[in-house]
């Protein structure tokens, strides 16, 4: 696809959590860039406050220091881009202000909603709720994505969601829905292989069939992670090392993603002690080995 915006080949990334700071500071050679959920480094004081968003000064300073050494890519949770009730436009302004100093090469959010109406107000479920793969959902998302893309000069990615229940009689397969979304809106994809694995495991789907249908040229970033079984359901808990099936998916998909910028490992900070430094290092080394087998060497000198 000749019109695909180029993103730098960053290589292997680690998702930032404050509990991982010792690892991040002492094991920097094990990853090429950091991803951060920026929402954990600022507070939203609510609509009507000016300014509405207040940065966590200490967290933002840490990111500034890290930015001197490597790229930092934001992966938001605050847009609630799929919410029919309300779309957090002010979140975009905040992301834009972070772009001024973080100079990230792309940014992403979740293909889901967490804001909904409740009684006379609203609720924020705090969980990425899924949306049906229907034309009506595309109609809701496409103009919003255009708005996001117009506000920032870098590619915007949406992550394929994890869902623990299905919708009856969907109009499209998930892969077809994602392809259509990219065509209509110009967005790119953050392909979360652990979400895909979790969905297929819980709903008896075929991950390879999904990948064969998906336009992999739109994939600019990949996530890998681990999870756990709970109450008969496998959870995308980011609580462990990646299952073997996820590594196999990564090995399968990496050579097919021509425009890929990076692969990120996600681990919730509270599980870091359980997983440990050694096993986390092994995960990153395995990612690096696969990256180097299928992708060009990471461009670390791209740091501004």
């Amino acid at each position: 696809m000749s019109n695909t915006p180029l993103v730098p080949k960053l290589g292997i990334g680690l998702a930032y959590q404050s509990a991982l700071r010792p690892f991040i500071e002492e094991e920097r050679e094990r990853f090429d860039f950091l991803e951060v959920v920026p929402d954990i480094l600022w507070s939203n004081l609510g609509r009507g406050h000016s300014p509405q968003y207040v940065d966590d000064a200490e967290g933002a300073d840490f990111m500034r220091r890290m930015r001197a050494e490597m790229f930092i890519v934001p992966h938001s949770i605050g847009l609630s881009i799929g919410s029919s009730y309300s779309f957090e436009r002010n979140h975009l302004t905040q992301i834009k202000s972070w772009h001024e100093w973080l100079k990230f090469p792309w940014h992403s959010d979740h293909l889901s909603y967490n804001l909904a109406e409740h009684a006379d107000g609203e609720m924020n479920v705090g969980v990425t709720l899924p949306m049906p793969h229907d034309a009506e959902t595309l109609d809701l998302l496409a103009p919003r994505i255009h708005e996001v893309r117009a506000s920032l000069p870098v590619p915007f990615l949406l992550e394929n969601n994890v869902y623990y229940f299905n919708f009856a009689d969907e109009e499209m397969t998930e892969a077809r829905f994602l392809n259509r979304l990219c065509e209509l809106s110009g967005c790119y994809l953050l392909l979360d292989l652990h979400n895909l694995y979790t969905n297929c495991r819980n709903h008896e789907g075929d991950a390879y069939e999904f990948l064969s249908e998906l336009n992999l040229d739109r994939v600019l970033e990949i996530h890998v992670a681990g999870g756990m079984e709970y109450g008969g359901v496998y959870l995308d808990a980011h609580s462990d090392t990646s299952p073997q099936a996820v590594w196999e998916l990564l090995d399968y998909v990496l050579p097919q993603c021509a425009n890929l910028g990076g692969v990120v490992f996600e681990l919730v900070g509270s599980w870091y002690q359980e997983v440990g430094r050694e096993r986390l290092s092994v995960q990153l080394a395995r990612m690096k080995e696969l990256w180097l087998r299928h992708q060009p060497a990471p461009l670390r000198e791209a740091v501004a």
């Binding site: 600022w42 507070s43 909904a116 109406e117 969980v127 709720l129 949306m131 049906p132 229940f165 009856a168």
Partner: protein
């Protein structure tokens, strides 16, 4: 409009167990608002799944993690069983309105204060809750120019022994009586500092230990 109603109903299935149970039992009849036949079919199907229960568990887990992170000593004092009961009551009355931790924490503080006023009896809870609420008040996100007001917390029991006991994960028992006031403020690095404002110790033991105003510096709890 129906898409909005559909999303609201789906979110309610996740956060409201009574609503979920009504939809499970009564199907379509339990659903309100402008919904298409397909949306009704989808919602009743979702209500019957284990996946919905898993999603609700994640919702509750996220809310609970906010409380453990912001009110660790209060959570420790309540203990698992009583904490579970109190959060059930609190969540039944108030859905989550924000991704952020402070909103959840202050809401739970309000809930516990109301419960204390209406007769809940948990030894030391009023003191520990007031201390953690005041700490949060100092740490509350705000614009840089809006300096937080200093905080005062009255104790009737020795705060050093009480708070350190809880921070070690031990259940406090027979904490010595000590009427005193802690004064909290932010230092230059925006870390919370607590001082004994004035020593009003009533026990001779405590009086002997604290003749002068004593500074204690810890972000979350007093250290010996």
């Amino acid at each position: 409009m129906s898409q909005r109603c559909f999303q609201t109903a789906m979110a309610r299935l996740v956060v409201d167990a009574k609503f979920r149970d009504r939809v499970r039992a009564g199907g379509d009849d339990a659903l309100e608002g402008e919904l298409t036949a397909l949306e009704r079919k989808r919602l009743t199907a979702i209500a019957a799944t284990r996946g919905l229960d898993a999603t609700s568990t994640l919702y509750r887990g996220f809310r609970l993690s906010k409380l453990y992170a912001t009110l660790p000593l209060t959570c420790a004092l309540l203990g698992k069983r009583r904490l579970a009961r109190e959060v059930r009551l609190y969540w039944a009355a108030r859905v989550s309105v924000s991704l952020y931790f402070f909103e959840e924490a202050f809401g739970f503080c309000d809930h516990l204060e109301e419960r204390l006023q209406s007769g809940l009896r948990v030894a030391y809870l009023d003191e520990v809750l007031a201390y953690e609420r005041a700490t949060l008040e100092l740490q509350r996100p705000r614009n840089r120019e809006d300096a937080p007001a200093s905080q005062r917390v009255e104790f009737e029991h020795d705060p050093e022994i009480l708070l350190n006991c809880l921070s070690r994960g031990q259940r406090p028992r027979a904490i010595p009586v000590l009427n005193c006031t802690l004064f909290g403020e932010l230092d230059e690095d925006d870390k919370v500092q607590w001082h004994f404002l004035a020593d009003k110790a009533k026990t001779s033991h405590a009086k002997a230990r604290r003749r002068k105003e004593k500074q204690v510096s810890s972000k979350q709890h007093l250290t010996p």
